[in-house]
Each structure stands twice: as structure tokens, then as C-alpha cells.
Amino acid sequence: MSSVASVHSLWTAAAGAPGRIPAPRIEYVQLSPTLIILGAAIVGVLIEAFLPRRSRYYAQVLLSVVALAAAFAAVIGLAAGGFGSSKAHLAAMGAIAVDGPALFLQGTILLVSLIAVFTFAERRLDPVAHGKRVDSFAAQAAAVPGGEAEQAAVKAGFTTTEVFPVLLFAVGGMLIFPSANDLLTLFIALEVFSLPLYILCALARRQRLLSQESAVKYFLLGAFSSAFLLFGVALLYGYAGTVSYAGIAEVISDGARQVDPALAGTMGNDVLLLIGGALVLMGLLFKVGAVPFHMWTPDVYQGAPTPVTGFMAAATKVAAFGALLRLLYVVLPGMRWDWRPVMWGVAILTMLGGAVLAITQTDIKRLLAYSSIAHAGFILAGVIAASQDGISSVLFYLAAYSFVTLGAFAVVTLVRDAGGEATHLSKWAGLGRRSPLVAAVFAVFLLAFAGIPLTSGFAGKFAVFKAAAESGAGWLVVVGVISSAIAAFFYIRVIVLMFFSEPKADGPTVAVPSVLTSTAIAVGVAATLVLGLAPQYFLDLAGHAGIFIR
């Protein structure tokens, strides 16, 4: 009873407090990248509302490109202004951190998105429909596939230009995600970039059934996992009485600190902490696509429109790993000895699982999906290092990996037959004979995935393994090495298929892309080679960006 009474008194006190609400202080400059993107997204919606249909496409593309470029410029400016290192601090009432990792990741995400926009805007691959060039998005997503409504939409040459603002919203969320400095912001950001992605997945022009299925799967599982994350947040809140990273970390570090005997039940109760932490971790691991939370990855990657898949695969990973890093390094360092072994297990499962499962895949997009799972495992190895080296190696790996992925999926969009993209591996037989250049480029990407020296993949892999080894996780490195050996097997299989096997008579054609996709691929190749041959500059970048603020 007494406890209740005391609580009651506290409650009334809280209510009766004189209502002077302190005005929040927002550092607009430091938040400019995010603000630009979100603002542009809203403008994009307005465009959809008010501009005539024919001019929307160009307006949207222009808007997105400009916005992303501007945001990137802002990031650079901030970094140059020392916000990455010396002036790093918490903005927006401690809700958002502006520090090295945040800026680095935001920069990466923005670049990736910029390139993704190119692939989104590609209009030369799909055959001309009724005299109109079309992109790879549904004419009218709402229309029933094959229904007359869709026919009409196609005839009218409709296109879903909404994808661009949607994309921008997603990007906005992704920018916040890795820099979120309290669990609430984390959760909101998660939803802000997830929901648009669910929509994007459903918008494929071809094979809409698959597209919609992927969307529904992604949505349900995503919501499911975010529910877990939220519950975890609740528990952590219950543990620490606050959701700000710093606050929680503080509570963890000086253990169960008695505020009030009445609350001893929950305050600093490690069970809450452990379960809550685990559930939040799970939510993030889901986004990362780590075993055993990977199930959605192959299906979604396969069903979604390939440009979207590329975007997801690259950007989502970056954002999610950013958040994961911050969580583990800022919030939970105090309980490192609890989560490290667990993450060990997850990392090993992820590396091996992804590699082994990929061996028997027959669809190129699914194959890449599983490969991305394996790579998630490698990155986790770096995360586990729990050292500054670990952070910077992960940052570098993410940058290296995302460009390769984008490029790879961009190439996938080129190989087409009557039914749209020919993603079944058997269709790729003898590609090297038909169009050596495309095959060669794809081979380069595959080799980068496989981590062959002189490609960015190798540099990244070496960086994370090095970090892991230095932090004493030698056996993790060995497992990683073994799984990359297994992984090599199926990358090689694709290369064999492309170069050494006979082209099928009814094989796919290789569409000649416009400058947009070409740029995307070119950038991918360039990044692969530059980061492979002369990674030093970027390693420095990641190295300097390797410090989180508390």
C-alpha cells in the first residue's frame, strides 16, 4: 500500500508541476542532411499532387538527385567542420548523435541512394510499351495484375513516379537510424525507413505476384520483429528509467543504483536489461539479415523490383549495422561479456549458414541474397571485435560492400528475356560468350564478393578479420576463412556458367542500358577496384570516423 501511496503522491506532484515547457533546442545545421532529404521527400509528394503526369518523372528524378547531392554535400561540410571528430556532439536534445560514425554512414547511405536513384530512373531496359519508355515499376500499383485497369494504365503509359519520394523517405529514416541516440528515435527511424521499403517491394512491373508476396512477407515479418524490438525497448526503459543511450549506459556501468526502495523491483534489474538488450539486438539483427533472422532476405530480394533490391541490400545493411554498432558500443559496452559470446554464435551461424545455403541456389537474386547474409556474418565478426579498429573496419567494409552490391544488382537488371529479367541461373549460361563485357563486369563483382585480392571485397574482409584477430577472436577468423572458401564455390559456379558453358539458343538478351544504369555499374566497378588497389585513403577516413560519442 505504502508504495502505491508514494507513487500516487509522485504522480500528483508531476501533474501539478507549474507548466513551463522548456522549448527544445534543435541544431538545424548539424541535422541538415536529414532535414534536406525529408523536406525533399515532402516536396516530392507535393509534386505528385500538383504536377501534370508527363512532367513528374523528370521533376522527381531531378529533385531526388539534387536533394541527395545537397545532403551529401552537407555531410561533407559537417565532416570538414570537424563535427566528425573534435566537435562531435549530441543534437536535438540528445536524440541524435552527430559524430564520426554517423557522418561516415550517412555519407555512404547518401551516395548509395544517389546511385540507386539512377537505377530507379532507368527507362531503357524494359521494352517500349505503347510508344512510351517505362521503368521497372508497376504502371499502377493499385490495379489488379492483368486486370483491365492495369491494361489501361499501361496503355496510358502511367508510371509510379511515387517511388522517388518514397525512396527519399526511406533514405531519411536510414540517415537517422545509425545516428539515433535514444531508443525511441531508433524505433521511429526504423519504422520510417522500413515502411517505405515495404511499399517499394510491392511495385514491380513484371511478376507482380512475386512482388506483392515479397512485400507482404517483408511487411509482416518486419512488423513482427519491430514489435520485439519495441518490447525490448520497453524492458530497457524499465531497467534504466530512461531511453537515452547515455543514460542506460550509465545505469549499466554503475549497476543497480537505488533511487527508491519502492522501485528496487525493476530498477537495475539485470533480467530486464538482458532480455531487453537481447530483444533490441534481435530487431537489429533482423534488419541486418543475420541467421536465424534471415528468412525474409531471399524471398524479399527475389520478389522486389531489382533496383529496390539493390537499394535495400546496400543501404539497409549500412544503416542497420550503424545502429547495431552504436547500440553495442555506446549502450551495452558495460555488458560486453554478455553479448560478445552470443554475437559469436550469431556471427558463426550467419557466415556458415549464408555460405552453405547459397551453394544450391538456382536464382541469381536469391544467390546474391544468401551471399549478402554471409557478408553480414563477416561484418559481425568485425563488430564483435569491440575495438576502435573493429568500428572502422566495419565502416570500411560497409562502404566497400554496398557499392559492389548495387553494381551487381544493376547488372542483373540488364539480363532480360521475354518475361522481364532472366534471373534463373540456367539462363546465364554462356553469357561470357554473348556479351563478354557485361559478363566480365559481373565476374569482377563476384570476385569482390568472394574476396579475391585486388578487389574491395578482399580489403574489407581483411580489415574485419584483422580487427577480430587482434581482439583475440582468432577462431572466428578461421571460421570466417572456411566459410569464405565455401562461398567461393558458388561465386565460381556462376563464373563457370557464364564463361565455360554453352549459350542456350533461347538464352536471354543483354539490354543496352542508358547512361543512368551505366553510371551505377561504372561507379560499382570503380569503387571495387579503387578500394581494392588503394584502400588507404578510405581506411584513414573510416579510421578517423571510428569514435562514437557518448
Binding site: 515479418l221 520485439f228 536465424p292 528468412m295 531471399p298 561479456w337 554478455d338 545455403l357 551453394i359
Partner: protein
């Protein structure tokens, strides 16, 4: 003067290079070039010999250091020659007999379109053989050793279109390789023992080495000798080697190459003298082989194979002598030289017979040929008398000395060895008489329609005559005041053996057994008609026809066994070593396709797994804390 030594080797080497790389344009002149260079080499040898005679016994050895060959760490091999009395003897024999046989071959190979290459090979052989006897260290000797092996391989297999020839060549090379193994191991042993393998230092230091090591070295050297000199147990190749053209058989497989083993043992005397056990092994091998060869020789109807058997047995004599140490070395070499003369002569004779009989080799198809080819008959006859040791001819002097020396070894060993030597002499007399009778006497057993026996051209008969002369007088010449023994003494060191039985008795005994042997042969082949087809013959005869079954043994054990072994290994390599790897890959694939089943496509099952994952995650975290 010593700068001439290199010339000895160079001349035939140049010839070989010219003839083998020269191409068709040398086809017409090739054989002349070859013979000329051989003769040139002989001339140089003579010059050096004369020069050597001019000096005092102790200062005769010449040495020529060309350049440092393989310097690696403590391992030093030089290209350097050493010409002492022993080498000189061989050089003269090799170049002399070699030149004669070159000339003979001009006629013998006249109709062969690959004559140029034949002479190229002959020159190559001469070069290698000279290198062998001139080398001043074992490694260089090894080069010559294998070189002659190569030449013999090429020459045995000269008529490659005949599978039998190709096989014989291969066999010869392989069996020799086994011997070569011995030689290379010997060199390694010397290197580890003395840190060098040059004759001078090794022999000088031999005294300081433990007897065990010396014995080991001696035994492996013996192995080498067995390979090259067709001694038991590595004798099997010599019979088949007769597939080669007859001049080759005469030069390589009678006069020179096959005696290299004897050279090796004699040259390594310093080591053997200090390793009595090794010496015992040598004499045993020699004694066994001389009987073995002789018995085989008795059964063969192929004239060349019969002669091959006799070669084996004669070399057995030399090895036996060499094994006796200082009391035998000189006689071994002496017999080697005389044997070089008469056996070469015999082979050339046989060749000439075959030349006249369209290359028929079966003596049962000969008979009464003395009327058709008188020169051949006479020269062959002289060679025959020489080899059976007819008093006054070469063989008599050399072989007789060896028998004495054998007895002189003393003790039961002496008796056994001496007895074996005597018995060998008897058998020799028997089979040579048999050859003689079957070939030149009795009724002609050939079809006059088919065969038109005729005497060979001058170019072939002249060498035969020269050799015949040699086989008549050489022995006597050498024995005048033990000239030969004293000539060799500085190198091989000579000791007088003390035979339990006086020299006279031995000689008498030899005469007796000789008479017996000839007599039996005459009773069997001279008096009654020789059947044109071989009778079944006694068990021993049949065994002897097949080289005393030793070849069959090889076939069953080595050839068959080897085939099985390799086949099994090939299978295992595929199924086991490779299978393991492919198996792993397959296992991975299986695992993968099994794991794929988890990806059912049903959202709810995914959700279940996620939930399970979450549960595990939470549980694990709690466990870590031990809560």
C-alpha cells in the same frame, strides 16, 4: 701434353654432335666422319701412350683440370681428367677396338638408311666411355657411366620398329639404372664420409674411415658394377641386348662397356682393399656369374646369345680376379684386354656369318660354313682358341693367371673359387666348341635356295683379321716378363699370391678340363648330326635356355607386381585421395539442400523460426550472466 686428354673425349663428341644434328646432308659422308674421328681419337691415345712410356713409372699419371663444375657449399665437383696407366690401357682398348668396329660397321650397316645416326650413336658411346675411364672423380665417372648406358640404349634399340628391340633397349637401361642407384649412393656415402669424391683424396683418406663405411661403399659400388657388367643378379639385360646390330654387341656388349664394372672395382681398389667383406661379396658374384653365364651359353642356339652368355662368364672371371685384391687386379685388367680382342673378334665373326646368311642367327640353321666364308672361319677359329685358353694364345695367359690367383686366395675359399674357375674353363671350352662345330662344321642345315652364304667385304674382314691377330699375340706380349703387371703396378699395386698348388699344376689342370670340355662337345655335336630343331633337352637345358628362369622370376615378381601396384595406386588416387575432396564438396551440397527445406515460403514458419531464434538469443544472454 695433358691438354691432349680433353681431345680424346672431344673428338668423338664432336662427331656425335655433327652426325646427330647434321641432318640429311651428312647422310652420304656421315659414316666416314664418324670413323675418322674415332681413329683420330685413337691416334691421340697412341701419342699420349708413347709419351707415357717415355716417363718413369711413378710420373706417368697426367691430370687435367678443365673447370669447376658444381660448387655448392662443401660439395665440389670438377670437370677434370686423370690419365694414368689404368686409364691409358682402357683408352687404347676403347679407341682401338672402337675404330676397328667403326670401320667394320661401314660395311655392315651399308644398307641401313639410318646409318648416319648409327655412327652418331657409336661416337657418342666412345665419348662417354672415354669420359668414364678418364674422369678423376666419381661424379664425372657417373656421367660417363650413364652416358654409355644411354648410348647402349640407343644402339640396342637402333632398329626401333622391332618391338623386341625397343623392349630390350628399355630393359637394358632400366636394369642399368638399378646399378646406377648403387653408384650414386656410393658417391653420397663418400661425400658424407670424406667430404669429397675425387679419386685422389678419397683413396688417400680411405685409411681413416671406419671399415663399416668402407664396406658399405664397396657393396654399393659392387651393385653398380653388377648392373653395368651384367653380373648376377643384374645380368638379365645382356642376353636381350643382342637385339642390337652386331657391331654394337661386339663393341659395347663384349669389348668395352660391359667391362666398366671391372674398371670401377679396380679403380676403387684402395677402398676394397680395406673392406674384406666387400671383397668377398665381389668374388662370390664373380664366381657365380662365371658359372651362370657359361651354363646359359651352353644352351643357347642363337649364336649371339651364346656369345653373350660367354661374355657374362668371362667378365665373371675378371670380377672374380678384381675381388681378389692386389693379387688379382692386374690379371683382371689383362684378361679384360685380351677378352676385348677375342670376344670382339668372335662377335664380328658372328656378324659376318649373319651378314652372309641373311641375318639368320639360329646355329641349328647353320653348318659347314667354313667352305663358304674362309676368312671369317679362320678369324673366328682363332678367337675361339683364344677364349678357351688354348696354350700360347691370349686367353691362355690371362685366364690361367686368374685361376691361379683364385687358388691363391687360400683356405677353403681359395679351393672353392679355384674349383669354380676351373669348372668354368671346362664349360667355356664346351660351349665354344659347340658354337664352332654347329656353325662351321658338320653338314649344312640350311636351304641352298634360300641362303647364299658368302664372304663379307674387305671393310669387314680387315678389322676381323686385326682383332684375330690381337687375340693371338696380345696375351703372350703382355706376359713377357710380366710387362703388363708392372705397367699397372703403380696404380693397382701388385702382390704375388701364394697358391697352395704350384702354377704348373694349375696349368695342367686347366689343360685337362679344357680337353674334357672340348671332347664332350665333340661327342655331342661333332660326331653325330645336329638336329635342325632343338630337342626338348634335359631340365637344366630347358632352364638354361630361359636364362635359368631368372627372367621369368623378374617378369612375375617385378613386372606383374609392378603393374598391379600401379593399377591399384591409380585406382586409389581417384577413389581415395580425389574421392575425399569430391566427397566433401558433395557433403556440402547435401547439407545445403537439406537446410534449404527450412525455407518453406510460409511467412508463419519464418515467424516461428524468428521467435525460436529470439528465445535462444534471450536464453543465451541470460545463461552468459548465469541468471
Amino acid at each position: 701434353m695433358e691438354n691432349l686428354i680433353a681431345l680424346l673425349v672431344a673428338a668423338p663428341l664432336v662427331g656425335a654432335a655433327l652426325l646427330l644434328c647434321g641432318g640429311k646432308r651428312l647422310d652420304r659422308t656421315g659414316h666416314w666422319i664418324g670413323s675418322l674421328l674415332a681413329v683420330a681419337s685413337f691416334a691421340v691415345a697412341v701419342v699420349l701412350f708413347a709419351d707415357m712410356l717415355g716417363k718413369g713409372a711413378e710420373h706417368r699419371a697426367l691430370h687435367q683440370h678443365l673447370f669447376s663444375w658444381i660448387p655448392v657449399g662443401g660439395f665440389r665437383a670438377d670437370i677434370a681428367f686423370q690419365l694414368d696407366q689404368l686409364s691409358m690401357t682402357f683408352v687404347l682398348l676403347i679407341t682401338g677396338v672402337g675404330s676397328l668396329i667403326h670401320i667394320y660397321s661401314i660395311g655392315y650397316m651399308e644398307h641401313d638408311e639410318r646409318r648416319r645416326r648409327f655412327f652418331g650413336y657409336l661416337n657418342l658411346f666412345l665419348a662417354a666411355m672415354l669420359l668414364l675411364v678418364l674422369a678423376d672423380n666419381y661424379l664425372l665417372l657417373y656421367v660417363g657411366w650413364e652416358g654409355v648406358g644411354l648410348a647402349s640404349y640407343l644402339l640396342i634399340g637402333f632398329w626401333q620398329h622391332k618391338p623386341s628391340a625397343a623392349t630390350a633397349a628399355k630393359k637394358a637401361f632400366l636394369v642399368n639404372r638399378v646399378g646406377d642407384m648403387g653408384l650414386s649412393i656410393a658417391i653420397m656415402l663418400m661425400f658424407t664420409t670424406f667430404g669429397t669424391f675425387a679419386f685422389g683424396p678419397v683413396f688417400a683418406a680411405a685409411g681413416d674411415a671406419s671399415e663399416g663405411r668402407l664396406t658399405a661403399i664397396g657393396l654399393v659400388l659392387l651393385l653398380a658394377a653388377c648392373g653395368k657388367s651384367a653380373q648376377v643378379p643384374l645380368q638379365s639385360w645382356l642376353g636381350d641386348a643382342m637385339e642390337g646390330p652386331t657391331p654394337v654387341s661386339a663393341l659395347i656388349h663384349a669389348a668395352t662397356m660391359v667391362t666398366a664394372g671391372v674398371y670401377l672395382i679396380t679403380r676403387s681398389g684402395a677402398i676394397f682393399n680395406l673392406a674384406p667383406d666387400a671383397q668377398t661379396a665381389v668374388v662370390v658374384v664373380g664366381a657365380v656369374t662365371l658359372l651362370f653365364g657359361a651354363i646359359v651359353g651352353c644352351a643357347k642356339d642363337d649364336i649371339k646369345k651364346a656369345l653373350a652368355g660367354s661374355t657374362m662368364s668371362q667378365i665373371g672371371y675378371m670380377v672374380l680376379a678384381a675381388g681378389l685384391g692386389p693379387i688379382g687386379y692386374a690379371f683382371a685388367i689383362m684378361h679384360l684386354v685380351t677378352h676385348g680382342f677375342f670376344k670382339a673378334g668372335l662377335f664380328l665373326g658372328a656378324g659376318s656369318v649373319m651378314h652372309g646368311m641373311n641375318d639368320e642367327v639360329d646355329m641349328r640353321r647353320y653348318g659347314g660354313l667354313r667352305r663358304y666364308m674362309p676368312v671369317t672361319f679362320v678369324t673366328f677359329g682363332l678367337g675361339y682358341l683364344a677364349i678357351i685358353g688354348f696354350p700360347g694364345l691370349s686367353g691362355f695367359f690371362s685366364k690361367d693367371k686368374i685361376i691361379e690367383a683364385a687358388f691363391a686366395r687360400g683356405g677353403t675359399e681359395g679351393w672353392i673359387l679355384g674349383g669354380a674357375a676351373l669348372l668354368g674353363a671346362a664349360i667355356t671350352a664346351f660351349y665354344m666348341t659347340r658354337v664352332m662345330l654347329m656353325t662351321f662344321f658338320g653338314e649344312k642345315r640350311w636351304d641352298p635356295e634360300e641362303f647364299h652364304p658368302h664372304e663379307s667385304p674387305k671393310v669387314m674382314t680387315v678389322p676381323m683379321i686385326v682383332l684375330a691377330v690381337g687375340s693371338v699375340f696380345a696375351g703372350g706380349l703382355f706376359s713377357v716378363g710380366d710387362a703388363f703387371v708392372r705397367w699397372l703396378e703403380p696404380v693397382t699395386s701388385f702382390a704375388h699370391g701364394h697358391s697352395p698348388v704350384s702354377a704348373g699344376v694349375v696349368t695342367a689342370a686347366t689343360m685337362v678340363v679344357l680337353a674334357i670340355g672340348v671332347g664332350i662337345a665333340w661327342l655331342m655335336y661333332g660326331r653325330k648330326e645336329v638336329p635342325a630343331t632343338a630337342p626338348r633337352g634335359s631340365l637344366l637345358t630347358r632352364a638354361a635356355r630361359r636364362d635359368l628362369l631368372q627372367d621369368d622370376f623378374n617378369h612375375v615378381v617385378l613386372v606383374r607386381g609392378g603393374e598391379h601396384l600401379t593399377r591399384t595406386l591409380v585406382y586409389l588416387d581417384h577413389s581415395l585421395v580425389d574421392g575425399a575432396v569430391n566427397g566433401t564438396a558433395a557433403a556440402m551440397g547435401g547439407l545445403s539442400s537439406r537446410l534449404r527445406q527450412l525455407q518453406t515460403g510460409f511467412v508463419r514458419s519464418y515467424a516461428v523460426q524468428m521467435l525460436g531464434g529470439a528465445a535462444v538469443l534471450v536464453a543465451a544472454t541470460l545463461l552468459m550472466r548465469g541468471v
